[in-house]
């Protein structure tokens, strides 16, 4: 292995650690997953040959390590249920007695343009960190790691119905968080660069 490849890989360490921490919510587990990823990358460097983007390749390995870590931890120490449990009362304030909107959710102005802005990704990360643990775990497994509901239910030890509740709760909470922190009126589409 060339020292050059080794230092290139090390250069992505901080990024990988951030990525793993967001999903695992445990500095030790994140550190372990990244360590395993870097070792696997060094051992399998030839697998990278010719691929365009080193970070994308490393992130791909890390995703597998994160899923492994989730499996291990769900066996050893299942996450406590979030305080809100199965109740969805937290969104009651958005709806009238008859179940229709109090305030109609507005259309976001060109949200995909926000994806090009680092401040937006940081704001999204902050919103994710604000979610209860299990809710965040379910959501990131689904949308980020691409797991299906069955897999999520198994790892979290919940029924499919509960799983859909968790995913619903995550989406509603993130929508509200981004509305307040980025897309809402008076926000001028996030902080100025």
């Amino acid at each position: 292995m060339s020292p050059d490849f080794r230092s290139q890989i090390q250069g992505h360490r901080a990024y990988l650690l951030r990525y793993a921490s967001l999903q695992l919510r445990s500095p030790e587990a994140a550190e372990d997953a990244v360590q395993e990823t870097l070792l696997a990358a060094l051992a399998g460097g030839s697998g990278f040959a010719g691929r365009s983007n080193l970070r994308t390749w490393l992130t791909g390995i890390l995703k597998h390590k994160i899923v492994d870590a989730i499996r291990r931890s769900s066996r050893e120490q299942p996450l406590e249920p979030d305080e809100s449990g199965d109740e969805m009362g937290e969104f009651d304030a958005l709806f009238k007695q008859n179940g229709h909107w109090v305030d109609r959710p507005p259309a976001w102005d060109d949200p995909d343009a926000a994806l090009e802005r680092q401040q937006f990704l940081a704001a999204l990360e902050k919103c994710l960190e604000g979610l209860p643990k299990r809710t965040a775990r379910a959501f990131l497994m689904r949308e980020h790691l691409g797991c299906d509901t069955g897999e999520i239910c198994q790892e979290l030890g919940v029924t499919p119905t509960h799983c859909w509740v968790l995913l619903y709760r995550a989406r509603m909470a993130l929508g509200q968080c981004l509305e307040q922190g980025w897309f809402g009126p008076g926000r001028e589409k996030g902080p100025r660069t």
């Binding site: 990024y15 951030r18 990525y19 967001l22 983007n53 970070r55 994308t56 992130t59 995703k63 969104f91 958005l94 709806f95 008859n98 179940g99 229709h100 909107w101 109609r104 959710p105 507005p106 259309a107 976001w108 949200p111 995909d112 926000a114 994806l115 090009e116 680092q118 401040q119 937006f120 990704l121 940081a122 999204l124 990360e125 994710l128 959501f139 990131l140 689904r142 949308e143 980020h144 299906d148 509901t149 499919p160 799983c163 859909w164 995913l167 619903y168 989406r171 509603m172 993130l174 929508g175 981004l178």
Partner: protein, 63 residues
């Protein structure tokens, strides 16, 4: 179906195949309710946005 119920289905639509009746109910509701159409767009956007976190392009905290 009211907006509260519709938002739950809009979410589940991203996670499971809806039954024919559920799909029809959504279509009908969307025709009349801009708020729920916006929520659907928001949920779909969230999916794209969260995937972007891992792609690692650009420069900044995520690069």
């Amino acid at each position: 179906m009211n907006c509260k119920e519709v938002t739950r289905l809009v979410s589940q639509r991203l996670d499971r195949e809806l039954a024919l009746g559920e799909r029809a109910a959504l279509r009908l509701h969307f025709a009349l309710c801009e708020g729920c159409r916006n929520v659907q767009k928001q949920f779909e956007f969230l999916r794209r946005a969260v995937r972007r976190l891992g792609e690692g392009g650009g420069d900044g905290p995520w690069s």
